[in-house]
C-alpha cells in the first residue's frame, strides 16, 4: 500500500472525511471509496470526458486530478444534479425528451459539462453547443439528440429563470 492522506470535502452537499491513497485519482476515489458510480471512466487519460464532474462549479475531468487535490473542495457529480428523488433537472428532462442518450455511458459527463456551459452561456448557438461538448465522446447518438437536448435545456432553463 502506498502513502495515504486524510481529506475532507463536500460531494453533492454531503461532507466526507476520508483517508485516501495519494496516487488515487479523483474518479476512482468517487467510485470506489464513496460508491458514487455515476461518474464513469472511459479512457482515464483525459480524452473521453465521461468522468467530468463539477468542482466549485467548474467542469473538470476527475481522472486528471488526484483525490488529495479535492481536499477542501465542493464537488457535484451526476448523482447530485436532480433537485430531489422524484424530480429531474431540466437538463435531464431535455435529454429524455430529445433522445439525448442511448447506452448512457457518456451521459454523466455530457450533463455536468453542459451544466457549467449553460450557466456561462444561457443562450448558445448550435455551433457553440458542439464546441462545448467537443471534449465528450458519444458512440451511440451521433450527437444530434445531445445537441437538440442542450438547446432545448437552454430554453427551459431560461424560461425557468424568467418565470
Amino acid at each position: 500500500m502506498g502513502e495515504k492522506r486524510k481529506i475532507s470535502l463536500t460531494v453533492n452537499g454531503k461532507s466526507y472525511e476520508e483517508e485516501v491513497e495519494v496516487r488515487f485519482h479523483l474518479a476512482d476515489f468517487l467510485r470506489q471509496q464513496l460508491g458514487l458510480t455515476g461518474t464513469h471512466l472511459g479512457c482515464e487519460h483525459g480524452v473521453c470526458g465521461a468522468c467530468t464532474i463539477l468542482m466549485n462549479g467548474r467542469s473538470v475531468r476527475s481522472c486528471l486530478m488526484l483525490a488529495v487535490q479535492a481536499d477542501g473542495q465542493d464537488l457535484l457529480t451526476i448523482e447530485g444534479i436532480a433537485p430531489s428523488e422524484e424530480e429531474m433537472h431540466p437538463l435531464q428532462e431535455a435529454f429524455r425528451d430529445n433522445h439525448g442518450l442511448q447506452c448512457g455511458f457518456c451521459t454523466p459527463g455530457m450533463l455536468t459539462t453542459l451544466l457549467e456551459f449553460l450557466d456561462d452561456n444561457p443562450d448558445p448557438t448550435e455551433e457553440e453547443v458542439r464546441i462545448a461538448i467537443s471534449g465528450n465522446l458519444c458512440r451511440c447518438t451521433g450527437y444530434q439528440g445531445i445537441v437538440a437536448a442542450a438547446l432545448d435545456a437552454a430554453q427551459r432553463l431560461r424560461e425557468a429563470k424568467g418565470a
Binding site: 502513502e3 496516487r23 467542469s59 475531468r61 481522472c63 488526484l66 487535490q69 471534449g135
Partner: protein
C-alpha cells in the same frame, strides 16, 4: 490504470518548492495535470515524489505593466481565456486559448504547465514565441529571465534546471490595433494541432506592413519563428498572392513526421496555415482601412 506509488508534497511557497527540488530524489512538478496526469495514469512517468504546485501562493496573476503583461506560472488557461486584459492587449493569446483542449481541461490547465511540458504543437508556447515572451525561472540562486527563443533546448525539453521552477511569463505587447491570428489544423476540435501558425502584424495608414511576426507550431521540435518571411513582409500590403508566395519557404522547416502526418504533409500545412494566419491578421489590423 493507476499512477505508480509516489510521495505527495503540497508546499505553499516557492521557496519550499525549490528546497524540495534540491533535496528529493526523482521529483516531478504537478501544475494543472492535464498532461502529467495522463502520463502518470499510463505510467509513462514514474516519479518518486510528486510536488503539487496548486497550493503555492502568489503564482496566479495577470498584471498590466503598460508595455508588457505579466502572467503567473500557475494562472489557469480559463482565467486567461476570460481575461479582458488579455483580450484587449494580447488578442493573439485570446485567439489561441479558444483552441486549447476543451473547457474541462482549460479549467485545470495552466500556462506554466503548458510551457514546461513544451509539446511542439501546443498553442501557448507558439504564442510566447510569436510575442518574444520572457520566461521567469526561479531556483536556489534566485530568479533568471530567459527569452523564449532560448527556452526550448530540444524536443519537449525546456532550459529549466532540475532545481528550478517556472514562476511567470512576461509578454511584450504590440501596438494598439495590430493584426493577429492563431490558426491551426487538427483532426478534431480540441486535439493537439498537426500544424499551427501564429501571426502578428502592424500596418501603417497606407496599408503597408511595418512589423511582422510569424510562428509555425507542430512542425519543428519547438515553435519556429519564420524570420526570413517576417523580413520580407515589411512594406508589403497584404496581397494574398504575394503572401502565398512568401509562405512557400515554410517547406524548408526541418519537420517532424509521425503516423498521423508525414514531414512533407506538415511542411505543406505550414505554408497553408501561415498564409491563412497572415491574411486573417492583416484583415484584423487597423491599418489601411
Amino acid at each position: 490504470m493507476k499512477p505508480p506509488p509516489f510521495s505527495y508534497h503540497d508546499p505553499s511557497s516557492v521557496g519550499e518548492v525549490i528546497n524540495l527540488l534540491e533535496t528529493l530524489e526523482n521529483p516531478k512538478l504537478l501544475a494543472g495535470g492535464q498532461s502529467l496526469m495522463p502520463m502518470l495514469n499510463m505510467r509513462y512517468v514514474m516519479p518518486d515524489h510528486l510536488i503539487d504546485l496548486n497550493k503555492v501562493e502568489g503564482l496566479s496573476y495577470i498584471e498590466d505593466n503598460k508595455e508588457s503583461i505579466s502572467i503567473g506560472g500557475m494562472t489557469l488557461q480559463r482565467d486567461l481565456e476570460y481575461s479582458e486584459l488579455i483580450k484587449a492587449k494580447c488578442p493573439l493569446m485570446h485567439d489561441a486559448l479558444q483552441q486549447i483542449g476543451h473547457r474541462q481541461t482549460r479549467n485545470r490547465g495552466t500556462i506554466g504547465g503548458s510551457l514546461s511540458h513544451l509539446d511542439p504543437a501546443a498553442e501557448l508556447p507558439a504564442v510566447c514565441a510569436a510575442h518574444d515572451a520572457v520566461i521567469i525561472l526561479q531556483g536556489p540562486g534566485g530568479e533568471r529571465e530567459i527569452p523564449f527563443s532560448d527556452f526550448p533546448i530540444a524536443y519537449m525539453t525546456p532550459v529549466t534546471k532540475e532545481d528550478e521552477l517556472l514562476t511567470g511569463v512576461k509578454i511584450p505587447i504590440w501596438q494598439e490595433g495590430h493584426g493577429y491570428a492563431f490558426v491551426e489544423f487538427a483532426r478534431r476540435h480540441g486535439d493537439f494541432a498537426i500544424t499551427s501558425a501564429a501571426a502578428l502584424l502592424e500596418v501603417d495608414q497606407g496599408g503597408g506592413i511595418t512589423r511582422a511576426s510569424l510562428t509555425v507550431g507542430g512542425v519543428g521540435a519547438a515553435p519556429v519563428r519564420m524570420t526570413s518571411i517576417e523580413e520580407a513582409l515589411i512594406g508589403q500590403n497584404g496581397d494574398e498572392e504575394k503572401l502565398r508566395e512568401l509562405c512557400e519557404s515554410c517547406r524548408e522547416i526541418d519537420a517532424l513526421g509521425d503516423v498521423y502526418a508525414s514531414s512533407e504533409y506538415r511542411q505543406h500545412l505550414a505554408t497553408v496555415m501561415s498564409r491563412r494566419a497572415l491574411v486573417k491578421a492583416y484583415s484584423r489590423s487597423n491599418g489601411g482601412v
